[in-house]
Amino acid sequence: MEREKTDEELLAEFQQGDAGAFERLLRRHRSPLYTFFVRMMGDRARAEDLAQETFLRIVRGSAAWEHRARFQTWLYTIARNLCVDAARRERFRRAESLDAQDGEEGAPLVDAVASGGAGPDREAHSVRLRPILQRALLALPAEQREVFVLREQAGLPFKEIAELVGANENTVKSRMRYALSGLRKALAEVGVTAEDAEPEPEPPPGVRLGRA
């Protein structure tokens, strides 16, 4: 059986006029990218718009693409820039708005915890925890949040994240530590501990993505 083609090979084929190759790229990255935006924005409708926009930019930029960086890095560079732009617009809008204090970012997390103790079912548990985690994530500073999501969910290595956000690797790792500890604290405040969450850490990084 044929080895699965790399992102870069598929993109090169798309450059040669093979739309099917792009379709495979899209299939591979659509869910991770959409999830990236959901985590970053906390809003599915906007996540959909931004993820579509990211892919459209990839399509438009593909002719000029040269195989210097990994495709995935390029994809998430665009995605991250769209997030930054969106956040800027959001801040502007909020500053304009009179009830700026009603921003949901500082909303207490406590009321998001379902009543009752830990359910027996792991999956149900994860479903219950996710909104809590999502809100805790949204409460983190954007530069910590992006590093966290790029590493945890998109599976990019720290070195690439550093390139992508334009900071050095140590800064990135330090943001990651803050993000992790921020999440842990937020969860502890609402009485959620690591034992309540998934028992397994993620499989070796890099595997998760690209083979979806």
């Binding site: 093979d18 739309a19 399509v59 985690l133 590493r151």
Partner: protein
């Protein structure tokens, strides 16, 4: 290793980013150091707690459509330097195997270089693609005509196989006949689908298809590289088809009676081959890639309910655009005289995707004859629903034959490609390129 060093690397360790030797060092330190151990435990706790955030979420339905549309348009631009209407109307998807093509010494693929041919050549190509688009509408919808029973569909294919000129090497008894029989399956399945209750996506697909078809004449006008007379002519050809898509070319029923009994037997026996053509329930779960095929299958369904008068009108109106598209590319020429072998069809998968993969593998392995035969099979299976990909498959067959030194057959296959898929300039260019070192017979158009 001291604590400062180690703590710098704890994150890398937790995320598996350290080279193995380094990881062992850090782990050894962590085991013996309470501070680092505590730090590591905290990291891991936090990661465990955050695990639900790693779960993937699926984008909503319809997410892929605009992206794929843009990608197809872009692919057309990148392949030809001209955004031919075919790209959008037929949703050009070049099949896999390009990678292999680049490895073939005889099959140089076109890069981003400018087309050396004269301008009029491009214009002719554009015009050709518009005409092809018009024809395509007929081809696509003819395969969807709900009046066909699955049996009729099976019968339609068989006579075509028999009529075909034998230009392809018959690769022995590799069960090719059984696979040809399976070529029926997609159509069979599409017929079934066409009778299903309308699903919401179907309606959308119809709109999209109509839009695309309606766009074609407009594009023809925009593309003023065409002469004044040509453009309206093309538009006229396209328009009636767009409006009255179901004008299916009905000649098959006439021949149907003669179809070998085996084909009818096969009808019940052949499983819908491969994942692409399984049950509708399964098919609807399939994401993006299948969307295209679904569109085609479900798309014109409401049109099919139009009155037969309308159909007749269209038949009369666009004979030129319709007929040549349907008949010429005879299904796999290698089809041996039909025997009773359909019943013994291999249960193994034989959908075009898989055929292409097998072809690609055979090609890389240097088995060009087999690769060519497989590509031709794939081409025949794709012909109706995905003519653009079918054209590419034929082009790959030409490349393989050329690479294998079977020049006569390569030339014949190229001729078949030109006849069956006029206007598909990308595949034609690939085929020409494969044959560039070959002196073509006098009656062949000299490749550029």
């Amino acid at each position: 290793m001291n604590c400062v060093e180690s703590q710098d690397l704890l994150l890398d360790l937790a995320y598996g980013e350290l080279p193995p030797a380094r990881a062992v060092e850090v782990e050894a330190h962590v085991l013996g150091c309470a501070t680092c151990r505590a730090e590591m435990a905290q990291l891991e706790d936090a990661r465990k707690a955050a695990a639900p955030l790693r779960e993937l979420e699926e984008p909503p339905a319809g997410f892929d459509e605009p992206i794929l549309r843009a990608a197809r348009a872009e692919a057309g631009l990148q392949a030809d330097g001209t955004p031919g209407p075919v790209v959008e109307v037929s949703a050009t998807v070049k099949p896999l195997g390009l990678q292999a093509a680049r490895l073939d010494p005889h099959a140089r693929m076109r890069g981003g270089t400018a087309r050396p041919g004269p301008r009029w050549g491009q214009r002719a190509a554009v015009f050709g693609s518009i005409a092809a688009a018009a024809g395509l509408a007929v081809v696509v919808t003819s395969s969807l005509r709900p009046k066909h029973t699955a049996q009729q569909m099976a019968e339609e294919v068989a006579p075509i196989q028999v009529r075909a000129p034998a230009t392809v090497p018959i690769s022995g008894d590799d069960g090719s006949l059984a696979k040809y029989a399976k070529a029926v399956s997609p159509e069979e399945s599409s017929t079934k689908r066409a009778r299903e209750p309308v699903a919401p996506p179907a309606a959308r697909a119809v709109d999209a298809a109509k839009q695309k078809m309606a766009d074609a004449p407009a594009r023809a006008k925009d593309r003023t590289a065409l002469s004044e007379q040509q453009a309206p002519a093309a538009a006229q050809k396209t328009a009636p088809v767009a409006q009255q898509a179901p004008a299916a070319v009905r000649k098959a029923p006439a021949v149907a009676q003669k179809a070998p009994i085996a084909a009818r037997e096969a009808d019940g026996l052949i499983p819908l081959s491969g994942e692409r053509f399984r049950s509708p329930e399964q098919a609807t779960e399939r994401p993006a890639r299948e969307g295209l095929v679904r569109e085609y299958r479900q798309g014109p369904r409401p049109d099919a309910e139009r009155s037969s008068e309308e159909s007749k009108v269209t038949e009369a109106a666009s004979p030129g655009a319709g007929t040549p598209q349907v008949a010429p590319l005879s299904a796999p020429a290698a089809a041996p005289p039909v025997g009773g072998r359909f019943g013994g069809a291999q249960p193994g998968p034989a959908n075009p995707d898989q055929l292409e993969e097998q072809a690609s593998a055979a090609r890389r392995g240097g088995d060009y004859a087999r690769a060519a035969a497989l590509y031709r099979e794939a081409s025949a299976m794709r012909r109706e629903l995905e003519p653009a990909r079918a054209a590419w498959d034929m082009a790959h067959a030409v490349e393989c034959l050329a690479a294998g030194g079977q020049v006569d057959q390569a030339v014949a296959a190229r001729r078949e490609l030109l006849r069956a898929f006029p206007g598909h300039s990308g595949p034609k260019a690939a085929a020409d390129s494969a044959l560039r070192s070959v002196r073509l017979p006098a009656d062949e158009e000299k490749p550029r």
